[in-house]
Symmetry: C2
Subunit: 419 residues, 2 copies
């Protein structure tokens, strides 16, 4: 046996019905979902997920952080499972697709294989990672990071939400019982289907994003210090206006990112004037910068150009400008072999596709540190995500699940790697 | 009698000692004054002022809003008094000169005339206007505005502070008793000595600012609306970044004001990003603008250029930018005759001087609507005011008081205008 079955498809109508069915757990009046991790709503969708997986013949285990693993047996149980999945938790005003599509499409793949009576060589696995969103507990993508060893169980269980409830207490409150230790679940490869959460696929009329990796990210905090003075009595040439410095900096950020386009992005997301008043020249402004690119060298170059621009602005305007890099995450390259598989399946199914990088963070970006990993993107309307108006079409969701199915089966049926 | 006495000078040491003496009322540890209007501290300095004026032979009256009028008799009591003065209230972290210099210099002028045994033709008047600062009760310059008929007594008395205490209750609490109706006190001319509250005189090495008038002011509220989206997934060219629009607008404001220099000033004093987050492109920013110039036509031109710049920015960046003019105060020209007198006395006394406009508002700007008015500025260190570190030198204060003395005597001894 083996090889790829190009005639095999998921049941798109069933997938869509399942998305609608689970959207009742934490449904908001505006058509979105409020399903913060480890709340009763999240507990309810987890119970539903376990029952649905078990009904599909999968064996469901739960690790110490509540991550659910649903295993479909393969012919050769000595092979590590080929995994897919994502997350079922949402932002407080989240949508019906972020994370949900990837998890439920995994279930749909298993159901479709069952319907077709197909057994794969390696077993298959659908994963529901705990707390991808990070809205209730920091950090985001907590469980997948802990799975690859970035955090200990004790560390994560002791983290608390705004009400002082720990992760451990929250797991107890929804009746989550660990059946396996963190990090012990074998995963031979991981493929995550997700909405793009950006506008590129929709704008270019593509159905499938072949995701080559996650961007590197650098976060900065900064302050601009000038001199607060009277708006009516201080002549323009004598001003040391922190707001003028911020304005030049914002445009420099834009210009530098554009010069490293099309991949680089840079955002001045927060800016706060100290003691603002309409008739006082701002004396101090604090701000944040978010810089991303798929290449480490480009992050380096952007930072160097930013610092040079800042030095020029500060000198010319007689301001003090501090820029502090508070966090940097290196780019995450996905597995070239799996990326190539995703691409060839999209080509074979006649789906318009393009290579791209993931602008947002995903559990797959954590998994990639230990496991051959890739992602599949499908368009979302207007690029909107983390919003109750988040939307994707049934046909795009189906197309993404078809590529997931093809990729998983190809990987599971590939010749076993030599020991 | 008659004519100007160029040999007459105030007693600078006594003036300085008086400034230091009254700075004890509401003194702050940092060397400033916290003497909000109509508080016990303000009541104490008012009692001191009344006693000092009476000791100098002046007749002190109080109007319905607590403004104190100290009259020095003239030879011809049918002539309207030539007035000076300013205010003794301060900001909560105010300095020792703002308002105080002009009021106490008025007292010093009377004392010096007494010492010299000089009687003027017209009577002289020193005024301590209630609530110039506006920190406790809005609006600022309340009593002088009411004096010229902009507000009724009832309106002002019913205004309340943050604690709900009305102006009427506050006047009662410090024992202020009205001895005359608002607006009935005759004033033939008004000359206000004040620190510049800006950096121009100090920077140019001038001692006397010959103030030709108050600037016109236009205040604007604005909003910039783009589209909030993910900092990691939205390519630079697809962004509708409200912060980018604000940056261009801030630089346009600066450029337009500079082009109308040196008189025009424009300030973007407040800017608030709606729902800011370091990894979200700002979708909406609100801001304020403060535009000032001594000429109405320039205010008009700046507004027109701003609106043109905004239209360009909005179109190019696909943003909606609203700009709403919420207030406009026309420029206040001072009396050309009195301005000329101030200038000629500065020249005669060999004091470096320059013509200028007042960037800030003053009681004199209100008086000018009904009474021939002018102002005299002296330098303050680094242009700092409304701050405990506000500072002026004894010699500059003395010089300003000398010009005040000369100007008042010249006006009071001028031939009586034909009936």
């Amino acid at each position: 046996m083996g090889g790829t079955r190009h005639n095999l498809r998921v049941d798109g109508a069933r997938l869509w019905a399942t998305i609608l069915e689970t959207s009742a757990f934490g449904a908001t009046p505006a058509g979105g979902i409020n399903r913060l991790t480890l709340t009763p709503e999240d507990g309810a969708v987890r119970d539903w997920f376990r029952a649905a997986c078990e009904a599909a013949g999968l064996a469901v285990g739960t690790d110490e952080l509540g991550t659910q693993f649903a295993l479909r047996r393969g012919r050769d149980m000595s092979r590590a499972p080929i995994a897919c999945g994502s997350h079922l938790d949402t932002q407080p005003t989240g949508g019906r697709f972020d994370g949900i599509l990837g998890t439920l499409a995994g279930l749909e793949v298993m159901r479709s294989l069952n319907d077709a009576g197909i057994e794969t060589e390696a077993p298959l696995l659908v994963v529901n990672w705990t707390n991808e969103e990070g809205s209730r507990y920091a950090p985001a993508m907590m469980a997948s990071a802990a799975y690859v060893g970035e955090f200990t169980v004790e560390d994560i269980l002791s983290r608390t939400d705004a009400a002082g409830i720990s992760v451990g207490q929250a797991l107890d409150s929804i009746g989550a019982v660990a059946t396996e230790k963190l990090g012990t679940r074998a995963i031979g490869a991981f493929v995550e289907l997700h909405i793009e959460q950006g506008p590129i696929l929709e704008a270019e009329g593509k159905t499938i994003g072949v995701v080559e990796g996650g961007q590197g990210i650098a976060w900065f905090d900064g302050t601009i210090t000038g001199f607060e003075s009277h708006a009516g009595t201080t002549p323009m040439p004598r001003r040391r206006d922190a707001m003028g410095g911020l304005a030049e900096l914002a445009l420099a950020v834009e210009r530098i990112a554009l010069a490293h386009g099309p991949s680089a992005v840079a955002t001045l997301g927060e800016a706060v004037i100290a003691a603002p008043s309409r008739n006082v020249i701002p004396g101090r402004v604090s701000f944040t910068l978010d810089v991303r690119d798929p290449r480490s060298a480009t992050l380096d170059a952007i930072e160097a150009e930013l610092r040079a621009a800042i030095a020029t602005i500060a000198e010319r305007r007689r301001l003090a400008i501090d820029l502090d890099r508070i966090w940097r995450k290196e780019p995450v390259p996905f597995d070239a072999g799996i990326v190539g598989l995703v691409e060839s399946h999209a080509e074979a199914l006649g789906l318009p596709h393009r290579r791209m990088v993931s602008g947002a963070g995903h559990d797959a970006c954590n998994l990639a540190a230990k496991v051959p990993t890739a992602m599949i993107f499908v368009p979302c309307r207007d690029g909107i995500s983390h919003n109750e108006s988040e939307s994707a079409t049934p046909s795009d969701c189906t197309a993404g699940a078809d590529i997931l199915l093809q990729t998983l089966v190809t990987l599971a049926n590939a010749p076993k790697a030599p020991a």
